[in-house]
């Protein structure tokens, strides 16, 4: 399962990179500002979803700098900005219900006039642009298995019923194949040993 997932996400990343190259190439994560405080601008990109309420989800995304020092929200186009950030190494986290984002290590360089370098801390992948994408979608509920005859058959009760069917319909067939002589001797043996037959278990069988 895992390799499949990874390949799909890679594909998604690949597609996104191409699109970014065309549309956002001009939007390199360059920060600007005065001597000691800079601006970090980035973008959150969530794969388009057909699920109803996708837009509502989008408006509830929070972007958090350094574990709660600053909290900001996304604009309709997915961009976010942190203002007045000092030079240094920072941590950006994105919280969106239904998605898991890797925290991002962001180095704001004082020497290069606030140049931003970003690395995903979970995958150690460095980003050319500060475009954050979910590592995976999160499902908070267990999925109910849809109704399935095989699932019923495989369940302990199904197995029991199956066993019963085997006993009821196949055993007599098996009995028939046994040599009558042998059968008789076996029955006599059983009787002498006193193993109760099925009929003897029930009342009023005799």
């Amino acid at each position: 399962m895992a390799p499949i997932l990874r390949s799909t996400s890679l594909l998604a990343l690949f597609v996104c990179h191409i699109s970014l190259f065309f549309f956002f190439a001009s939007n390199l994560p360059i920060s600007s500002g005065s001597e000691d405080s800079y601006t970090i601008t980035g973008r959150v990109r969530i794969p388009a979803s057909t699920v109803i309420g996708h837009a509502a989800k989008f408006s509830n995304i929070k972007v958090i700098l350094n574990g709660g020092q600053n909290v900001t929200f996304l604009r309709p186009d997915g961009y976010f900005t942190f203002h007045k950030v000092p030079a240094g190494t920072h941590l950006i986290e994105v919280y969106a219900m239904g998605y898991f984002f890797s925290p991002v290590r962001v180095d704001v360089s004082a020497r290069h006039n606030g140049k931003v370098q970003a690395t995903l801390t979970e995958t150690r992948r460095s980003l050319t642009e500060l475009v954050l994408e979910p590592l995976r979608a999160e499902q908070y509920y267990e999925m109910r298995e849809p109704f399935n005859v095989m699932a019923i058959a495989k369940s302990p009760m199904g197995l029991m019923v199956g066993f019963m069917v085997v006993v009821v319909f196949l055993m007599p067939k098996l009995m028939e194949n046994i040599d009558p002589e042998e059968m008789k001797s076996a029955q006599e043996q059983m009787r002498s040993q006193g193993v109760p037959s099925l009929s003897s278990l029930l009342p009023a069988s005799r």
């Binding site: 350094n66 941590l91 219900m97 925290p103 908070y140 109910r144």
Partner: protein, 978 residues
């Protein structure tokens, strides 16, 4: 027969296996989630357009929200960061909500219908100051009418369309503090009035298009201003002078400044200090003098005259234009258990437009704020609705003489939580009739079966949900067999105590703290005062609520004792001393009242309850009582013992002095205390021994007197990003609080706080930031007793040569050893808690409150120092998980599933009577409750257990048996005939 019994057993087992996580249709069965916003600071109505009527509010919990005016529900809300306090809110262009926050340095616009952020602008600010937001009431989309913002010495004009800063004026050099910005309608010139050093009034006329100063006038007022200001019309403001005895009317018609002084004593006789109240009324101002509110009319030439006076307990709204150029305002005052809402015209105070009397719950306190809105009735007359904020922070909408809706916003600022039992079911009180007939019973179970096989139609699903709620009887107000029904007692910052039912989260009772000493004490903490069992069964349990008159720690304390069943206050006393620390002692008196010690700022401790019996119990244990204080500022932890009774005329026999026994001093240049933690005093430990895979025995060092302390280098005490790995290190200590002995010290180089920790049994788990890896880390430390480690030999136990029966004393030096392990964790954390069960047998789960306001349940097995990269077969069988460098985040193990507990502050766990299950209550701006079974519900069948399927299977089996019997009879008969 045996076979059948076995089969039946198999059936039971197969059905009892449940998944740990939730199915979507199970959400809301055992959990509830309540959304709040906090105490409302500002409110702006949006009722002009047809369609949904809303009110936009901002609160003290940094929430901006849009509420439905009809029902009080939340359309949308956003919880800003903790340092992002909202200073002002307004509606621009009729479609954007504008919020100004962080002392005037952040301006955001939110889309009115859905709450999506439209733009965000950072404004420059030089220093901390009062900030001011002025949004033009103009629907025209035009850059000529910008939003003006003052904050931190700068005046900005911001376009409402895209948040672009049109111009900014730097007033930092002059020290000019803007007080009012006035935008005359139809003019592009704005008037900016402010003070320089509170002694000089300056008026700027600024062209709002380009930000150019057209004219400037200033005038020095010799007495100086106090800063309280009220604008009465478009060209006049009234200010109090620095002595608070003279009202100064400042007129600035066309940029000319004129002062007009009116001593308050001219208006009211024998006046004391005056205070200008915040409501903005046209051509009038409200002043509080001599505990009365007087209305002062401002004449055309700045002449002041008193027109009315009201009692002090009156809250007023801003005035609002109603028809024919007239303005009206609302005032609310109390009279017994009723409140009177009056709407009057500003010009003719005798003309009361509306007079309503509404019965009000005494436990809501007084009215704090009133926001008024008018609407046109069908008969073209004016109707009024008022949004009022009460002293307990609740929010109510009054309309047509009734409370249309109310929101208990006090619950958004819970400070302490405890749980209490419900009363036992009395004889004669019949159990709710759940199932009437066998047919209905069967029908219900068939429905459930359909649900679990995904064959149910939507109507069936609704029926199933109803059935489940009904059959669980979870909302009854009596104790149940499993201990699932309990009361959650929550104390709020407003000093109100709420009892919530665990079944559905409804408020069973609520009570506002009262005191003779001060108007309204703040709530600090809650303690179990009396938990009756054994010989005091007939008593109702009670809790101790500790409050304080004022925010200062040296303010006198207030103790209230509250009956848990009824919510009535038993007694309340103003104790004459301050409250620094409350120590519940492990002793109870004959009525099961727990003894408490309260330490004050002077260094004395006071014993409660103040009875001779309690005193005699205390005297017996006088030598054995130790306590400690943590001085986070000076980096010293001190241990104290009792010394003697207090001397002095004010002291009574329940007051004792203490002396310092030991101190642990952390060097202030290299270590700063950032977190301290002890075990929960009421935690149950099932076993002291832990068996290893190789049949080895480890003894847990379980002591109630262990203190976990975390320190960081002073440089690393700031935020992440402000320090390099070389400059910061984190050191954790385990300190014995009886002797002050440091049992364990562990240092993490290149790490920093904040540290969030949880301490249970013999282990501590803490979360911190690793600067080198730039990731969060979680470390577990387990502490074991070495002195008893020799007792492994069976022969030693048989021959009695063990030291297990030797008394354990806290005075001796314990021989301990620790095991620890660290892991990465991918999220910031706000708080960590641990599940607690009745007997402590069930394995534990960590409950991690993440910064995304969700709660993640993580098995303790993941933070076990015995984890290795390649566990042996025996270790695997024991359940040891192979070591990974980071802890897993499994989305299905979020106990909050699809909810967010916005503004999460704390998580409280409490055991239920059923050993497998624990109550979890999380509070912040929102409240969330759920029941958890960390090792699944191994001691009971789940709600999902399908009796119908079991019954059907049994019937089928019996039928099959009879059919086969009949067949075999037939066969036997035919064989006999042969």
């Amino acid at each position: 027969m045996a076979i059948r019994v076995f089969l039946l057993l198999l059936l039971f087992l197969s059905s009892a296996i449940v998944s740990f996580s939730l199915y979507e249709d199970q959400a809301g069965l055992a959990d509830w989630h309540q959304r709040y916003i906090g105490k409302v600071k500002h409110a702006v109505f949006h009722t002009q357009k047809t369609g949904r009527k809303r009110v936009i509010v901002s609160t003290e919990e940094n929430v901006v929200a849009s509420l439905d005016l009809r029902h009080g529900e939340i359309f949308w809300r956003h919880v800003l960061g903790t340092k992002d306090a909202i200073d002002g809110v307004g509606i621009a262009l009729g479609k954007y909500v504008i919020t100004l926050s962080s002392e005037g340095s952040t301006l955001r616009a939110w889309n009115l219908p859905d709450g999506q952020m439209v733009w965000e602008t950072a404004l420059s600010s030089a220093h901390h100051s009062k900030s001011l937001l002025s949004v033009p009431i103009n629907l025209k989309v035009d850059k000529d009418y910008p939003i003006t913002v003052f904050g931190g010495g700068y005046l900005h004009a911001v376009s409402a369309i895209d948040g672009e800063v049109l111009w900014e004026k730097d007033f930092t050099a002059e020290g000019f503090e803007v007080q009012r910005v006035l935008q005359p309608l139809g003019s592009t010139v704005i008037y900016v009035l402010g003070f320089v050093n509170l002694s000089e009034a300056v008026v700027y006329q600024i062209d709002s298009k380009i930000g150019e100063v057209v004219a400037q006038k200033s005038m020095v007022f010799p007495g100086g201003f106090s800063g309280e200001i009220s604008s009465v019309s478009s060209d006049k403001v009234v200010v109090l002078d620095s002595k608070k005895s003279i009202l100064v009317t400042i007129g600035f018609i066309d940029g000319d400044i004129s002062f007009q002084k009116t001593p308050v004593s001219d208006l009211v006789e024998n006046s004391g200090n005056a205070e200008i109240l915040s409501p903005l009324l046209s051509n009038m101002l409200a002043v509080k003098v001599n505990k009365r509110t007087i209305f002062v009319k401002v004449g055309g030439e700045g002449k002041l005259e008193v027109v009315d006076s009201l009692s002090d307990e009156t809250a007023m709204s801003d005035s609002l234009p109603v028809a024919d150029d007239q303005e009206a305002f609302a005032s609310v005052h109390h009279e017994g258990s009723k409140i009177h809402l009056m709407v009057k015209l500003v010009n003719e105070l005798d003309n009361v437009l509306l007079r309503e009397t509404i019965q009000m719950d005494q436990h809501r306190g007084r009215v704090h704020k009133v926001f008024m809105n008018n609407y046109i009735r069908t008969d073209r007359s004016n109707g009024f609705r008022a949004l009022i904020v009460m002293e307990d922070h609740s929010l109510l909408l009054l309309q047509q003489g009734a409370i249309v809706w109310s929101r208990e916003e006090g619950l958004a600022s819970v400070t302490d939580v405890t749980t209490a039992e419900l009363p036992v079911e009395k004889d004669g009180v019949s159990v709710a009739k759940v199932e009437h007939t066998l047919f209905e019973w069967l029908k219900g179970h068939v429905l459930k079966l359909k649900g679990s096989l995904l064959l149910a139609s939507p109507e069936d699903v609704v029926a199933i949900q109803e059935l489940r709620v009904k059959s669980s009887g979870k909302n009854k107000l009596t104790r149940d067999h499993n201990g699932f029904r309990k009361l959650i007692l929550a104390l709020t910052r407003a000093g109100k105590l709420f009892a919530l039912h665990t079944g559905d989260g409804r408020i069973v009772w609520s009570m506002l703290l009262k005191s003779q000493a001060c108007e309204r004490p703040n709530g600090i903490s809650l303690y179990q005062w009396q938990v009756p069992h054994h010989h005091a069964m007939d008593k109702n349990p009670s809790v101790l609520v500790v409050g304080r008159c004022g925010s200062d720690s040296s303010a006198p304390g207030v103790l209230s004792f509250v009956d848990v069943y009824t919510g009535k206050k038993i007694t309340s006393s103003d104790i004459g001393h301050s409250v620094v620390q409350v120590l519940p002692l492990p002793f109870t008196d004959s009525t099961e009242q727990r003894l408490h010690l309260i330490a004050d700022t002077v260094g004395h401790v006071h014993l409660y309850p103040k009875t001779s019996e309690a005193l005699s119990i205390f005297q017996r244990e006088f030598q054995n009582i130790y306590w400690y204080t943590v001085g986070a500022d000076d980096g010293i932890i001190r241990g104290h013992v009792m010394k003697s009774s207090c001397s002095g005329e004010t002291a009574d026999e329940y007051c004792f002095t203490t002396r310092e026994l030991w101190t642990v001093v952390f060097p202030s240049e290299s270590e700063k205390i950032i977190s301290t933690l002890t075990r929960k005093p009421n935690e149950v430990v099932h076993t002291q021994a832990k068996v290893n895979t190789d049949q080895d025995l480890l003894y847990k060092y379980v002591s109630r007197n262990l203190l976990f302390v975390a320190t960081v280098s002073p440089k690393g005490a700031g935020e992440i990003g402000s320090v390099t790995p070389e400059e910061s290190s984190l050191v954790v200590y385990l300190i014995d609080t009886i002797t002050g002995r440091i049992l364990h010290r562990l240092s993490h180089q290149g790490c920093q706080g904040p540290v969030h920790a949880v301490f249970s049994e013999n282990w501590v788990v803490y979360h911190y930031f690793n600067l080198r890896a730039h990731k969060y880390e979680v470390t577990v430390v387990e502490i074991y007793d070495q002195s008893r480690a020799e007792n492994k030999n069976v022969w030693k136990l048989i021959l009695g040569k063990h030291n297990l029966t030797a008394p354990i004393t806290s005075y001796s030096r314990p021989e301990v050893f620790t095991k620890s392990q660290s892991y990465f964790f991918a999220q910031s954390v706000k708080t960590i808690a641990v599940t607690s069960t009745a007997k402590g047998i069930t394995s534990k789960q960590l409950l991690i409150g993440t910064i995304g306001d969700q709660i993640l349940a993580l098995d303790k097995r993941f933070v076990d120092p015995r984890r290795t990269l390649n566990p042996s077969q025996a270790e695997k069988e024991e359940g040891i998980i192979p070591l990974t460098d980071s802890l897993p985040i499994i989305p299905q193990s979020y106990v909050t599933h699809s909810h967010r507990v916005e503004g999460l502050k704390g998580i409280v766990t409490a055991p239920s009577k059923l050993e497998s299950t624990t109550h979890v209550f999380a509070y912040g701006v929102d409240l969330f409750y759920t029941r958890l079974a960390p090792s699944k519900t191994y001691d009971s069948l789940t709600d999902d257990f399908s009796y119908a399927l079991l019954l059907i299977t049994i019937v089928a089996l019996v039928a099959a048996i009879y059919i086969t019997w009949a067949l075999s009879e037939k066969k036997e008969l035919s064989e006999k005939w042969r």
